[in-house]
């Protein structure tokens, strides 16, 4: 980064660029997947949740586990732009915007996918008309909306100086795009007073978002932990969810920063050192998470109480065992092992293991939600002496809607990447002590 000398050079490097063929294909693919999801959702609206494989026993499926996944991944916004920022970790500055973009895109889809799971989405306003504050769902609605609001602010407010830069520096862009930057930059001129307010509000938000972030995932864990069911009836769930969320969020940042670096040739900003540090961070987070995993399963497995026993057996040695151990081995153990080595924390290997962590995390949410529902307290009803099978395998509708939601969040990230600088230009400039003044048009400057 030491070689950057002027704001012009910085802007030139980091300003949004037109997509090439690969970018366009990628965007088209995402749009198609999302459209396909809409078609499936249309049929679900028409025919009800009977298009899913959910049943009276397995009454929650991948819509809910996917919801938990979205909430989890969105937590990274608070990790990078609040926790690391407040602890003065300067190396993470180029990552704050990427983290906030991930947070906003995913928390939005957390809200959407939970509507998809509702039997009566047309009655969503009942939550506000008849909301009962005793219900953890109402807590979740409140805290998710708060987190979305703060995350949008944490994305938007630090964007102001950058939007002004784009407004002033980007010449060969369509008029609407220029207009967009002009409107969104809210007449930012870059005075000292403005920067003072900016720093103050971002610091304030960074402090506020930490408890809210812990809140979204703790409350989400309580949707399960507040029930009496084996496997969910756990006091460990809050911190377990939070720890797991930081893991998948950090992995998502790594994955995205690798793509940004390769695609935009940003080796100067997203250098190997940042990858190395993110790798170390992910190792630490994974180890904390492993601690909670052991804590979650060891004691019930030791006691094998009725009500937990059949579930534990199902996870450890039964039908869910391949997925359970697969998640531990490919989603935690191998990635951690790779990342322990300096070579493993180079961009490409780190990118690969980060994606393994993300996929593992998705299936881990599946393992949290679904197997418990296979083990009710009362035995399955027997028909002519044969117990009726409790089954669940997501239908095509469920898969296509779920995949569409994942593609949708990637599409939002893609669009934001296309039109916004995904590395905060002014923060880099500030860090590197590059003079920002020349960007301010002379007329406006004289006004101040």
């Amino acid at each position: 980064m030491n070689t950057i000398t002027s704001i012009n050079e910085l802007t030139k490097d980091l300003q949004p660029r037109k997509f090439g063929l690969r970018g366009q294909l990628w965007t088209t693919l995402l749009v198609l997947i999302v459209l396909n999801g809409f078609v499936s959702y249309y049929f679900q609206l028409k025919n009800g949740l009977s298009v899913t494989d959910m049943s009276n026993y397995v009454s929650w499926g991948i819509y809910i586990s996917n919801f938990v996944f979205f909430v989890a991944i969105s937590l990274v916004g608070s990790l990078i732009s609040a926790i690391l920022k407040l602890s003065n970790a300067k190396w993470s500055i180029p990552l704050t915007r990427i983290a906030e973009i991930i947070a906003v895109a995913n928390i939005m889809f957390a809200g959407l996918i939970i509507i998809v799971d509702m039997g009566r989405p047309d009655r969503i306003l009942n939550l506000f008309m008849y909301g009962r504050i005793q219900s953890p769902i109402v807590w979740d609605v409140l805290v998710v909306m708060t987190y979305l609001a703060i995350s949008i602010l944490l994305l938007y407010i630090p964007l102001l100086p950058d939007l002004a830069l784009l407004r002033d520096k980007m010449k060969d862009i369509p008029k609407w795009q220029h207009q967009l930057y002009k409107i969104l930059s809210l007449g930012w001129t870059g005075t000292e007073a403005q920067y003072k307010i900016l720093h103050k509000s971002v610091n304030g938000l960074a402090i506020v978002i930490i408890p809210v972030a812990l809140g979204i995932h703790t409350v989400t864990s309580w949707l399960f932990a507040s029930t009496l069911r084996g496997g969910w009836n756990s006091t460990n769930f809050g911190p377990y969810f939070v720890a797991g969320a930081f893991v998948v969020g950090a992995a998502a940042v790594i994955s995205l920063m690798y793509i940004a670096r390769r695609y935009y040739k940003l080796e100067r900003y997203l250098n190997e050192d940042i990858f190395d540090k993110m790798g170390k961070l992910l190792v630490m987070l994974s180890l904390v998470y492993t601690y909670f995993t052991i804590n979650e399963y060891l004691t019930p497995a030791f006691k094998m109480m009725e009500g937990e026993r059949s579930l534990i057996q199902d996870l450890f040695i039964g039908g869910f065992a391949p997925m359970f151990w697969g998640v531990q081995i490919f989603g935690v153990i191998i990635p951690v092992f790779v990342m322990l080595f300096r070579k493993g924390r180079k961009p490409l290997p780190l990118f690969i293991v980060a994606n393994m962590v993300i996929v593992g995390a998705w299936f881990k949410r599946y393992l949290i939600v679904i197997p418990t529902l296979f083990h009710p307290y009362l035995p399955a009803i027997k028909q002519n002496g044969v117990p009726s099978a409790i089954h669940y395998f997501p239908t095509w509708h469920e898969w296509s809607i779920t995949i569409a939601s994942l593609a949708g969040s990637m599409l939002i990230i893609t669009i934001l990447f296309r039109y916004l600088p995904f590395i905060s230009m002014w923060e880099i400039a500030e860090e590197q002590h590059i003079e920002l003044d020349p960007i301010i048009p002379a007329v406006e400057k004289s006004k101040n």
Binding site: S50, S59, M118, S135, P379, G385
Partner: protein, 314 residues
């Protein structure tokens, strides 16, 4: 006939509603003849603002939908209040159950329950390998500390003064949190469009019957409050050939299965009554009498009904 029963019921309800709904009706302009178009022949009896009973053709009635809403609202208010002065309780005598399944059959028939769900189940229980197996009929327990009610985000499922836990299917948002919260797998869901039943045409929704069914909402055993209101036993108790089900009022300390009546407290004391899974603290209102000195020995192969009867009411 079912249809007769329903239209008669409707008429009675309307009569009852008329008093409650009259204030609202007064404010609605009564322009019954202003509407053209064919008549449907089905008439509704209404109490007009000047106190006369009028017969009005349903289709010509501009107010029909408003009246239905009015009626449903009154039924919902009644359903939330419960039956005054009562505290319903059930006692299930496991010693008498021989898996005749007449309870489930009657329940399914009277509640128009489709084949993919049951409000009432009879479980084959065996607590451990060496202990004796027995049949355990299970209704909703109508818990005094209902986990389902605690988690409902919109107050669609509620606990009434008389102890019954009910659902307002017109408020339920279908989040199914109550299904996850119920430790007894009691709650079932309308996954798709409800089955069509001719008898339910034009029936005004009443939470005390849960009919007509609503797509995308939760339902369950409701202790048949409509029967209790009429001083009758719930359908399962009426149908059981062995007198397994006792229903009654805790305030009166009396339970009956139709032919025998007991002091509730004495029965529980004498027969060592208990509640299922007491340790989870939900305080059920259904008690069990242990399967000792059984009417007939347990026989798993002794099928009184074939599989289709077990699944369907058709």
């Amino acid at each position: 006939m079912e249809s007769d029963k329903f239209s008669r019921k409707n008429f009675l309800k309307l009569g009852a509603i008329a008093t409650g709904g009259i204030a609202a009706l007064n404010s609605i302009p009564f322009v019954l003849n202003a509407q053209d178009g064919p008549v449907c022949g089905e008439t509704v009896t209404l109490l007009s603002s000047d106190g006369k009973l009028v017969h009005v053709d349903k289709k010509s009635l501009k107010l029909a939908s408003m009246l239905r809403a009015e009626e449903t609202n009154a039924l919902k208010i009644r359903a939330r209040k419960g039956i005054e002065g009562r505290k319903w309780v059930a006692v299930i005598d496991l010693a008498r159950c021989k898996h005749a399944m007449a309870c489930q059959k009657s329940c399914n028939k009277n509640h128009y329950i489709p084949g993919d769900r049951q409000w009432l189940n009879v479980y084959e229980m065996q607590d451990s390998k060496e202990t004796a197996p027995y049949w355990m009929p299970k209704t909703c327990f109508h818990c005094d500390r209902p986990p389902c009610v605690a988690v409902c985000p919109v107050d669609a499922t509620f606990k009434r003064e008389d102890g019954i836990v009910l659902i307002d299917n017109e408020r339920c948002i279908g989040c199914r949190f109550c299904m996850a919260a119920c430790p007894y797998s009691t709650r079932v869901f309308n996954w798709g469009e409800p089955e069509y039943h001719k008898e339910l045409d034009g029936v005004v929704y009443d939470p005390e019957q849960g009919l007509p069914r609503k797509k995308g909402t939760v339902e369950k055993c409701d202790f048949c409050p409509d029967m209790l209101r009429e001083g009758k036993l719930p359908h399962c108790a009426e149908a059981c050939p062995n007198g397994v089900y006792f229903f009654g009022d805790l305030n009166e300390d009396t339970v009956t299965n139709g032919s025998e009546t007991f002091r509730f407290s004495q029965l529980i004391k004498d027969r060592a009554g208990y509640r299922y899974m007491e340790e989870i603290g939900t305080e059920p209102n259904v008690y069990y009498l242990p399967p000792v000195n059984r009417l007939v020995p347990f026989d798993e192969t002794d099928k009184h009904l074939d599989e289709t009867d077990n699944m369907h009411h058709h």
